[in-house]
């Protein structure tokens, strides 16, 4: 079995976290040389400070299940479920992400510098997911409290059955946005191909402008014109089974 590669050289992406934890060692993993199991095992252990993961080469479950206030930088494209179920960690993916990036995240931040595939942020309960490029279908499906900001467009059935949290789409949304949505609030700057069942446009009140501004700022898009956005949410017509709604189910 390959040995764990730990490199104490300074991380290539210094951040505020690094400044605050200058006494902590930095860890450098090369997935071309170290099995994913060893990397994730180390990330689940006693670890702090900054961690760099090179050569993910589309590996699945990179940095999944981390529960520590660390900064993890992944240099390259990742496969499915990168940063899955993340707690506390700030994860930056310098590449594209496959299906289910940050799925079921509880807290922390996940930033995808490229595009994300399907089901980005699926069922996530908390934290912030930023995809600077586009996200494919089912972005924010069944989201349960996470904040998601997408720099570009999202595919069909995004925010399907979305329960809580906020989804910001700086580009366009595909068909069936917010189908069967519960209490998630969606903000879209571009066009919406179609809204799903029980999802409607809603007025943008002061508190929503404030909320949107805060989300855009947190995601690094503070310069957007807020007036270009439309808010969408639940009409709450499907909250109870009714005969007249039969065709909508």
């Amino acid at each position: 079995m390959d040995t764990l590669t730990i490199d104490n050289s300074p991380a290539p992406f210094p951040t505020d976290t690094a400044k605050a934890e200058t006494m902590s060692p930095n860890h450098h993993f090369d997935l071309a040389a170290t099995p994913l199991r060893e990397v994730n095992s180390a990330l689940h252990g006693d670890i702090s400070g900054e961690i760099v993961i090179d050569n993910p080469a589309g590996a699945h479950a990179v940095a999944a299940g981390v529960n520590a206030p660390v900064k993890i930088t992944v240099n390259g494209h990742v496969g499915y479920y990168a940063a899955g179920m993340n707690q506390q960690a700030e994860v930056v993916i310098n590449g594209n992400a496959g299906t289910g990036v940050a799925e079921n995240m509880m807290s922390g931040t996940v930033i995808v510098k490229g595009n994300a595939s399907q089901s980005a942020g699926a069922t996530a309960h908390g934290g912030l997911l930023v995809v600077e490029g586009d996200a494919a279908a089912r972005c924010g499906i069944s989201m349960k409290g996470v904040d998601i900001v997408i720099g570009g467009n999202v595919g069909h059935n995004s925010a399907f059955m979305a329960q809580a949290g906020r989804l910001v789409i700086r580009g366009d949304a595909g068909h069936g946005l917010g189908d069967s949505i519960y209490e998630t609030r969606i903000y879209v700057r571009g066009d919406v191909a179609s809204l799903g069942a029980d999802c409607i446009a809603k007025p943008m009140r002061e508190e929503h402008l404030e909320e949107l501004a805060g989300l855009l700022k947190a995601a690094g898009f503070a310069d957007d014109d807020l007036s270009a956005y439309t808010r969408y949410g639940s009409a709450r017509e499907l909250y109870h089974f009714k005969v007249d709604n039969a065709s909508a189910y």
Binding site: S41, A64, G79, M85, S119, Q163, Y239, H240
Partner: protein, 443 residues
């Protein structure tokens, strides 16, 4: 004078096609305009374990002495990949039932009863409650399409993880919990508005198909550091293919739930018309495992209509490693107890017939979130009753196994069984009693 004569004496004839139940269903649909939703599993008559009999030992095989000679009942589950497989004292486990569908006290009682006899219990849609975790020595955590209440902390607290693709009462259907049961606590656990009619998804939100599932299972293993057995649960339908694909996806344990398996709330039409009987599913599952060379290495848990030790022994003789009970466990806790007969009638049902688990008005305090009704249920007493029932089932299965000359329940084999109907013989792939004929085998 006809009023003193019985229906038969008056020569009235009920239609077999349009019987009273059918007439009532049509009338109900015409009145309400919405389909019937209920709990329980399939109520129709199906080929079942009752259609099988054991061939006790005599001259050609010799039996073990009852009460004296050893007949072990333990089972290991999840030995394929997990660092910590489960080792249970009895192969009778408790199936997944949610807090939400059941009261917190009922969930606690399931944990208490299971732990007392050294078996496992299972969470359900809506997450893990502290009551349940606290009282369950071996707790299986269900990973469902809705992911209600799913969080990595509870995942790590679990002893095994069950990825649920479906259940026998509704293969292909999603969860349902009506507003009467979405109390403040249930709503908070599921991140839903209080009192809504919850519809949950039938497909997982971030994977589709066996290739994706393999990646998902790998993620769950990575998150939990390969410690926990991963089960895959399917509702019985295309069982041969589903079990093969579950194994290919990396399942350590496959759970097959036949159409008699219960539900807390599902459309009646779904319960009675989708899926296949448990009896038909087991041989398909075993064949799939045998063809892949993993029978016993990937364990098989069978559920759906398991009621007594004979059913346990028959399921195991057909090749299951363990069974799971749901409806029978609720009955052991006190569901449908005749002492509540008047109250069942007051809500339009009767003791022995009550299946409106979705209504949340259970007089026994089991399938409810109503504080007053829940308070009627004593989790300690319920746990004792369940433990008693589990012991009886285990001893009954042992009795049969000894009679067949087996020193372990897992030594029971299809050769110990015959069928008393052609349908059961064909489904279970055992001979019709008194013949060597297995319909469909070409023999």
């Amino acid at each position: 004078m006809t009023e003193n004569l019985s229906i038969e004496q008056r020569g009235l004839r009920e239609s077999a096609t349009f019987d009273r139940t059918t007439i009532a269903a049509i009338q109900r649909a015409a009145e309400t305009g919405i389909y019937d939703i209920r709990g329980w599993g399939a109520k129709r008559k199906l080929p079942h374990f009752d259609d099988l009999l054991f061939l006790g030992a005599s001259m050609s095989r010799y039996p073990l002495e009852g009460y004296r000679e050893r007949c072990d009942t333990d089972v290991w589950l999840g030995t394929r990949n997990a660092k910590y497989p489960l080792h249970l004292s009895t192969p009778v486990t408790i199936a997944g039932m949610s807090f939400g569908a059941l009261s917190a006290g009922a969930k606690e009682a399931l944990g208490r009863g299971a732990s007392e006899v050294g078996t496992s219990t299972t969470t359900g849609d809506g997450g893990m409650t502290p009551e349940e975790r606290g009282q369950s020595k071996h707790l299986v955590y269900q990973y469902l399409p809705s992911r209600y209440g799913m969080n990595p902390d509870d995942l790590r607290k679990a002893d095994a993880i069950e990825v649920v693709l479906g259940q026998g009462a509704k293969p292909g259907g999603g969860g349902m919990l009506l507003g009467q049961k979405i109390s403040e606590r249930v709503a908070a656990m599921r991140t839903l508005p209080e009192g809504i009619d919850q519809r949950s998804a039938c497909r997982h939100p971030d994977w589709t198909g066996p290739d994706d599932l393999a990646i998902k299972i790998n993620e769950l293993r990575e998150i939990t550091d390969w410690e926990k057995p991963i089960y895959v649960k399917v509702g019985a339908s295309r069982t041969y293919y589903d079990v093969k694909l579950a194994v290919h996806s990396g399942a350590d344990v496959v759970v097959v739930d036949g159409m008699q398996g219960g539900t807390a709330a599902t459309q009646e039409v779904f319960i009675e018309h989708v899926g296949i009987p448990t009896l038909a599913a087991i041989p398909q599952a075993v064949q799939a495992l045998q063809e892949l060379g993993v029978h016993r290495e990937v364990q098989l848990i069978v559920s759906g209509g398991i009621r007594n030790g004979a059913d346990v022994a028959k399921a195991m003789a057909l090749g299951a490693d363990a069974v799971a009970i749901g409806t029978a466990a609720l009955i052991a806790l006190g569901d449908n107890d005749p002492r509540y007969a008047k109250e069942y009638e007051a809500i339009g049902s009767a003791a022995g017939y009550y299946d409106d688990f979705q209504d949340g008005r259970d007089p026994a305090g089991i399938s409810t979130q109503d504080p007053e009704l829940s308070a009627r249920f004593d989790p300690v007493l319920g746990g004792k009753r369940l433990a008693n029932f589990l012991r009886v089932m285990t001893m009954e299965a042992q009795t049969i196994a000894r009679a067949c000359g087996k020193a372990h329940l897992q030594h029971l084999e299809p050769e110990d069984l015959v069928a008393i109907s052609i349908e059961a013989a064909a489904m279970a792939r055992v001979p019709l009693a008194g013949t060597g004929w297995i319909p469909g085998s070409g023999l």
